[in-house]
Symmetry: C2
Subunit: 453 residues, 2 copies
C-alpha cells in the first residue's frame, strides 16, 4: 500500500500508530473523531513536497495540521489519508526589523513569534485567543481581538510559499508593501483552509510596539447599552486596539473559572495603543461614550501582568463557558454583521437563546461586528441539540439578512459547509471551479469548504 | 455576424463607428492603436450580462473600459472584440454613513465619489492621481499617494458584483468588515484586470475626514538625503498620509508646466492627517528627520486651495514630464521594493539613467517603496528606444533582486507581460490555470496578465 512509500521517505517522522492517528482525529469542537490513516512530520518544504507528490500519485488525501485549535473541524480526516503535522516546521527564519516583517515556518505559534520579537520593539498583532500556529491562522484567515485595529490575517500576510496539489512549490507575493502584478495568490491561499495548497513559509507584517498600552474593563447595566457604546465608538473613528463584549453569562463563567469577582453584568474589555498622549485622549473620548450609554467606571489593568491576566481571562472565555456545562455538546457560532446592525443582531440572538432555555453565553470582537454565542445543549438530550442547531442556523440567516457573513473568523471546515450556498450563491460554485483547477484529484483537505463532488 | 445581436440588444448604446472604436483603441502610454470591433455602453448589470452571454456564444473578446487612464494597455483590444465602456454605469447607489461604506457602479470616478461624500464627513482615500473610474481602479489594484496610510484597492474594496465569462452574475464579500467564509473572491477579482470577470458594482470602505490636514514640501540638497529621510520616517512608524518623492528633473517639469518656482532640487511632498494635536506632533517628528538628513525648511500649504494646488502639481507629474520632451516615446516604470532597499533601488536607477543620456525623471510613492522613472527616448531614434527599454528591464530585475515587484500599482496589461515569469515563476502558471477555470474560451480581455495560449 502506498503509505509504505512515505514510511521509506520519512522514517521515524511518519506514524500509523493508533494513538498518533487518534490525536489527529480530534478537534476542540463537537465533531466525532475522524482520524487519518497516518501522520507525517515534515521538517522542511522538500519533505512536504515529497509527501504531496507521493499522495498525489496514489490519490491519497492530504490534510494540514497546525496546533489543532480550529473550531470547525478543518483538520479532521473524514476521508482518511495523511495528516501533515507542521509542529517540526517551527523555525523563525528571519526577522527583518528595517522592513518590519518576519519570515516563519507554518508551525511557529503566534506566542512563540511574539516572544522572539519582544526585544525588537516589534510585534505580530493578530490574536485569535488560542495559541494557534501561524500557518493555521493563515489557512483559516484568523483574526480575533486586535483585528479592529490591525486587520485580520488577510492584511498581515505579505507573502507565502505553498506546496500545490501536484507537489510544485510556488511563492506568492513579495517583500514589497504592495504589488499590482497579477492575481492576488497570497489572498487566495489565505483562508483556503488547506484545500488549494499547503503553506510551508509565511512572510508576515509586523507592527511597532506602541509607546503606551492601556487596558480596562467596564460594566453596563444591560446588553443594549454596551453594544450601543461599541457602535458609537467605532463610528466616531476611535482607533481602538481591542474592544470586546462579554455578556453576563460569560462573566459568571469568568468568575467561576478565572478566579475573578466581576459583577454579573455585560462588560466591555478594551485596550488603547499609541503615544502616551494619544492613549489618554482615546481613553477620555471612550469614557465619555461609556458614560453616555450608562456604563460604569473603568477598572484599569495598569501593569503588563494585569493586562495579560485580563486578556487571558477573555481568551479562556470558550473554555470557561464550556466548564459551566461540562456535559454539554458545544456548538460555536461566529457571525459578523455591519456595525450598524450589531445591536439588532446581538439582541435578537440573545432573546432567542433566552427563550430556548439552552445556555448560550455571548461574547465577541464587536468592534468588527463579530460575535459568538457558545450554545451548550446537553449532550444526552437530542432535542436540546436539535434546538441549538436551529438557533445556530437562525443566527446564520440573521447575519445574511443583515448584510453580514456566517463566519467572521472561525472559517468553514466541515462545520459551516451547509451555509455556503446561502451566503455565496453562484460564488460558491466559482470556489469549486478554482478548487478543481488547482486540485483536480481533490486530495487536499477533502470534505471542507467547497461544494462536495 | 454576431455583432448584430448586440446592436439589436443595445440599440443606440452600441457602436461600430470608426471614431468610437479609435477612441477605445488608444491609451495614455506608448502602445500602438488597437481598436475593438465595437463599443457597448451598458446601463446596468443585466446589460453587461447580456453582452457577455452574446459574446460568449460567439467567442468574441470582451474588454472592460473605465476612464482610459491605464498606463499598461489594459483596455486595448489586440484581438478585436467588444469594448464595454462603463461610462453610463456611473451612479452612486448608496452611501451608508453608519457603516462607512459606499456602493457604486464601476463607471463612477474617484473624484465624483469624493464630491458626493463631501458633506458626509467621510472620504474615499485611494488616489492614483488620474481621475480614474473606481471599477478600473479595482481591476488594476490601483493605489497612489495615500496608500502608505490607507492601503491600496486591495484593502478598500469590501465587496463586488461581477459578471463572469459565461454571463453569470455573482456577488463576492459582504458588508461585514471581515469574513472567513471561503476563498477571498473579492481579492481575486481586485487586480484581475478584467480577465476573470467584469465588475458591475463595488462596495467601498470609506474613511472619516480627518479633523486636521496639513501638507508641505521641502527640498533636499541631494536625492540620497531625501530617500533616507523617507526610510527613517517609515521605520519610525510615523503615520504619514502622503510622502512623495520628486527628483530635480521633475521639479524642472513642474516649474515649466505647473507655473510654480521651486528650486531645482529633489523634494519630498508630504501630508499629515489626524487630530490637530496629532498632526502637530507628526509634523514636528517628521521635521526632525528632515533636518537630520539635511533637508530645507517646510513650505506649508495652509488652505485647502493651496493643498489642492500642491497635489494637482504632483498628479500632473506624468504629463509635466512628458511635456519636457514632446517628441518622446514615453516608457513608464513602476517598481516597488522593501523600504530597506529603497535608497539602493532609487540611486542605482538614477545613476543608470544619467549614464544613458536619456531623460528619465523619477518620482514616486516612496513611503511604500514604490517609484517611477518616466523614460523619454526620442520616438524617432530606435537606438534610444532600445536603450530605454533595456533600462526599464534592468529596473525590473533590480526590483526582483531586492525582494520587490515589477509593478507597485500600474499593473501588467500588455506592457509588463514579459516580466511575469521572472517575478512569479510557477505561480504565473497557477494564474493561467485560474484563468482557464473561469474563462475557458479566453474571451475576457485576452492578451493581458496571464500566460498566452
Amino acid at each position: 500500500m502506498g503509505l509504505e512509500t512515505l514510511r521509506d521517505l520519512l522514517g521515524a517522522r511518519f506514524s500509523t500508530g493508533v494513538s498518533e492517528r487518534a490525536l489527529h482525529g480530534r478537534s476542540e469542537a463537537h465533531f466525532p473523531p475522524l482520524p487519518p490513516d497516518a501522520v507525517a512530520y515534515p521538517e522542511n518544504t522538500e519533505d512536504v513536497a515529497a509527501i504531496v507528490r507521493s499522495c498525489a500519485a496514489q490519490s491519497i488525501p492530504v490534510i494540514g495540521w497546525g496546533a489543532g485549535t480550529s473550531l470547525e473541524g478543518h483538520a479532521l480526516a473524514p476521508n482518511g489519508g495523511v495528516t501533515v503535522d507542521f509542529s517540526r516546521m517551527n523555525r523563525i527564519l528571519e526577522v527583518a526589523q528595517e522592513d518590519m516583517l518576519a519570515v516563519v515556518q507554518p508551525g511557529v505559534t503566534r506566542a512563540a513569534l511574539n516572544e522572539e520579537l519582544r526585544a525588537t520593539g516589534l510585534f505580530f498583532p493578530v490574536d485569535p485567543g488560542a495559541n494557534a500556529s501561524l500557518g493555521g491562522m493563515a489557512a483559516t484567515r484568523a483574526s480575533g481581538t486586535t483585528a479592529v485595529r490591525y486587520g485580520t490575517m488577510r492584511a498581515n500576510v505579505l507573502a507565502l510559499e505553498v506546496v500545490l496539489a501536484d507537489g510544485r512549490v510556488i511563492r506568492t507575493g513579495s517583500r514589497a508593501p504592495k504589488s499590482s502584478t497579477g492575481y492576488d495568490l497570497t489572498a487566495l491561499f489565505v483562508g483556503s483552509e488547506g484545500t488549494l495548497g499547503l503553506i510551508t513559509e509565511l512572510t508576515l507584517r509586523l507592527q511597532g510596539q506602541p509607546e503606551a498600552i492601556s487596558a480596562a474593563i467596564c460594566a453596563f447595566p444591560d446588553m443594549g447599552g454596551a453594544v450601543e457604546a461599541v457602535i458609537l465608538t467605532i463610528q466616531s473613528g476611535l482607533p481602538m486596539a481591542r474592544i470586546e463584549f462579554v455578556d453576563a453569562a460569560n462573566v459568571r463563567a469568568f468568575n467561576a473559572y478565572g478566579g475573578v469577582e466581576m459583577p454579573e453584568r455585560p462588560h466591555l474589555m478594551v485596550e488603547f495603543h499609541g503615544s502616551h498622549g494619544a492613549v489618554q485622549e482615546q481613553a477620555r473620548a471612550f469614557g465619555e461614550i461609556v458614560a453616555e450609554m450608562g456604563g460604569g467606571a473603568f477598572q484599569w489593568a495598569e501593569t503588563p501582568e494585569d493586562r495579560n491576566r485580563l486578556w487571558k481571562l477573555r481568551h479562556n472565555g470558550y473554555y470557561a463557558a464550556r466548564a459551566l456545562c461540562p456535559n454539554a455538546f458545544p456548538i460555536t457560532t461566529d457571525i459578523c454583521v455591519p456595525i450598524s446592525k450589531l445591536a439588532e443582531a446581538v439582541e435578537e440572538t440573545a432573546a432567542e437563546i433566552a427563550a430556548s432555555g439552552i445556555p448560550g453565553p455571548i461574547l465577541g470582537h464587536v468592534g468588527d461586528g463579530n460575535f459568538h454565542a457558545l450554545l451548550l445543549p446537553d449532550k444526552d438530550a437530542p432535542d436540546e441539540i436539535a434546538t441549538a442547531k436551529a438557533l445556530a442556523g437562525r443566527m446564520a440567516e440573521r447575519a445574511l439578512r443583515l448584510g453580514g457573513t456566517v463566519s467572521g473568523e472561525h472559517g468553514i471546515g466541515m462545520g459551516k459547509l451547509g451555509y455556503m450556498e446561502a451566503e455565496h450563491g453562484a460564488g460558491w460554485q466559482v470556489m469549486g471551479a478554482l478548487k478543481t483547477a488547482l486540485d483536480p484529484q481533490n486530495i487536499l483537505n477533502p470534505g471542507k469548504l467547497v461544494p462536495q463532488r
